[in-house]
Amino acid sequence: MNTEENRRILLIDDAPAIHEDFRKILEPTRPGGELAELEAALFGAPAPGAWASFELHSAYQGEEGFALVQAAVAARSPFAMAFVDMRMPPGWDGVETVEHLWQADPELQVVICTAYSDYSWEEVLQRLDVGDRLLILKKPFDAIEVRQLASALTAKWNMTRQAAQKLAELEAAVESRTHELNRANQKLQLDIVERERAEQQTRDAYQRISDILEFLPDATFVVDENRRVIAWNRAIEVMTGVPKGEILGQGEHAYALPFYGVRRPILIDLLNETREVQERLYHGITRNGRTLCAEAKVEFADGAHYLWSAASPLCDLNGNQVGGIQTLRDITEARRAEQERSRLEAQLQRSRTVKALTVQLGHDLKTPLTPLFALLPLIRSKVTEPGLARMLDICQDCVSQVQGLTDKALELVRLSGKGMPQEFKRVGLAGAADLSRANCAPLLAARGVACLNSIDPGLAVRGVEEELVLLFDNLLSNAARFAAQNGTVRITAVVEGEAVRVSVQDDGIGLDPDHEKLIFDEFFKADQARHDLNTQGLGLAICKSIVLNHKGKIWAESPGLGLGSTIHFTLPPWETAEPTP
């Protein structure tokens, strides 16, 4: 592009004289002169020695001019302006020429020279898309007018070019900048979308973790670096009765309140403490990496609970601690079960020991009794002297007592040493009572006491037969002793709800109401004064032990002294109902 000022002018006129005139005006050979002075006055002093000359080209017909313009455009050296005569026969007229000129070069500034009122301005405007590139010069015209126009219009052309260029540059710049901005904008948009997505993911992940935390079955809470509660899940709400609304955001050991009633350090506060401090606060605390575990006993509204707890620090990616998390578990039930198990084990151990001891004791007691039992009668048979005989009788009685007591004591030990549930079988109650009646027959007969068994033969209980017979034995021998002479002992049984109640009733000496409970205590004797060497106070205690083994109850009733007494006891019934054979 030609950056120099464009001073190329085209003149299209059919009169050669005009061309001469124009040449003189526009291409003067010397600076100065009258014309120059005038110009200087009008336009300011020109550059010394260099009056800007125009480059004038001529064409004598419209078509010719058109061709020149085309060529100039093609050569990239367009005309800035053209003077065009209105009438140039035989060819195109001025307007038609200008039409063509502008087709070839729309930027061409044009001056139409006209002598006639060929066309009105309006008509010209109608025919041409004038814009601001057309001026009219009326003939005759002055040189000054020509020069003014030439200067003005070339300047205008140049400025227009420059402006256009500037504009183009600006536009290019703007477009480029806009383009950059757009790209930057797009990138920003993408960044924003990306960022939002990442944030959403983080929120989602956080929500998921929050949900997980919320629904963890173990009571859990989380604190931030300032030990303020930032999470308090459902399980801990249930455990403590404190809803999250009341505790979220709270600091200063607020999390200790539901457990200890006071604000004090708890496990989560010990994460960075020394071992000494940790162990002082929680006896038996253990460490696993950075996690602390401990057990503690706390008081809730419904009593003492044992809690197991673990606390860990929460760290960011750089390993800085940003908070802590603690989880708690109520192990009260487990602890109780453990204690119960220990107790039962101890009990089992004890009963095993008791059994072993009993066996040994049995043997060891019986061994020295043997010579007594064996030899005293022999001695007695050789003694005739009444005094000696009496002494030996006493000795034999005592040995007999010792033997009886030993048997009973061992029986009692054996029964109460039973820690393990025994095998309960079906026991015919009437049968057991009958057996016992047979066993006690001598005792009953000795005092003329009748024993009636009215237990339904089909009634069965769940128990251990030999123990039940022993139970009846003890009751019947007691009843035999305390029944009235030639009296009656009645045995009955009735189903009451979930148990079978058996009653052994005698019509003998009866019981003082104060003694009703005591008689089941070992060694209790209703009548302390009675010198009855055969009464062994362990009998009812044995009965109690047997009944307890069968998960029943035993008690005594008596209308009063001299009015007989009844011992009642309950036994578990045998489930399946059997028809009476």
Partner: protein, 197 residues
């Protein structure tokens, strides 16, 4: 098929004196008695002899192929098992110990079949272990009457207890009670057999 009633008794430790008490109280009855006692071949004859001296009925060791007769007491010999064919013919067989013993009460009782005539009674007396429990259960299933000795009178309560725990025992009695029951069940023998001196 036998028309004779049969009483089969299983017994172990404390057997001899208990049997002595039982059979001492029994008159000659119209039934055959088979005793399965845990005994050694060295002692069986002597036990039978001792029992024979106190019992009202003759007591002998059961012989292989022998047919049971009423009013007679047969003791299973030691070291072998005793079975009955048709509830009346003695079959002795060597075999592995059952419940640690030979003769075994279970083996003897389980060889019995449902009688068409006469009564069937099974009794388990004192003894250690559980021989006889299953035998008694089987005997009961044949429609027989079952008895077990009571704890108080048992020298060792093991076998009667095991029998009781099968639920197949009809009566629990001491030896005297068993004797009384047997007297009620069986008529006296029409003509008592003569006893060897």
């Amino acid at each position: 098929m036998s028309r004779t009633s049969l009483v089969m008794i299983g017994v172990s430790t404390g057997g001899p004196p208990t049997l002595k008490e039982l059979f001492g109280a029994l008159p000659a009855l119209d039934a055959a008695f088979v005793i399965v006692l845990h005994i050694t071949p060295e002692m069986d004859y002597r036990i039978a002899q001792g029992l024979d001296q106190v019992a009202s009925m003759p007591v002998t060791l059961a012989r292989h192929g022998e047919y049971l007769r009423p009013g007679h007491v047969y003791l299973a010999p030691g070291g072998v098992h005793l079975k009955l064919e048709g509830n009346q013919k003695v079959v002795l067989c060597k075999g592995a110990r059952v419940n640690y013993v030979a003769p075994s009460v279970d083996v003897a009782m389980q060889s019995l079949t449902r009688p068409l005539w006469g009564k069937l009674v099974g009794i388990v007396l004192t003894g250690m272990g559980k021989d006889g429990a299953e035998g008694l259960r089987h005997l009961k299933s044949l429609g027989g009457l079952t008895m077990a000795q009571d704890q108080k009178s048992s020298v060792i309560y093991g076998m009667p207890k095991a029998a009781l725990q099968t639920g197949a025992v009809d009566l629990v009695l001491p030896p005297r009670g068993i004797a009384d029951k047997l007297v009620k069940l069986f008529p006296p023998l029409p003509v008592p057999l003569s006893k060897a001196t």
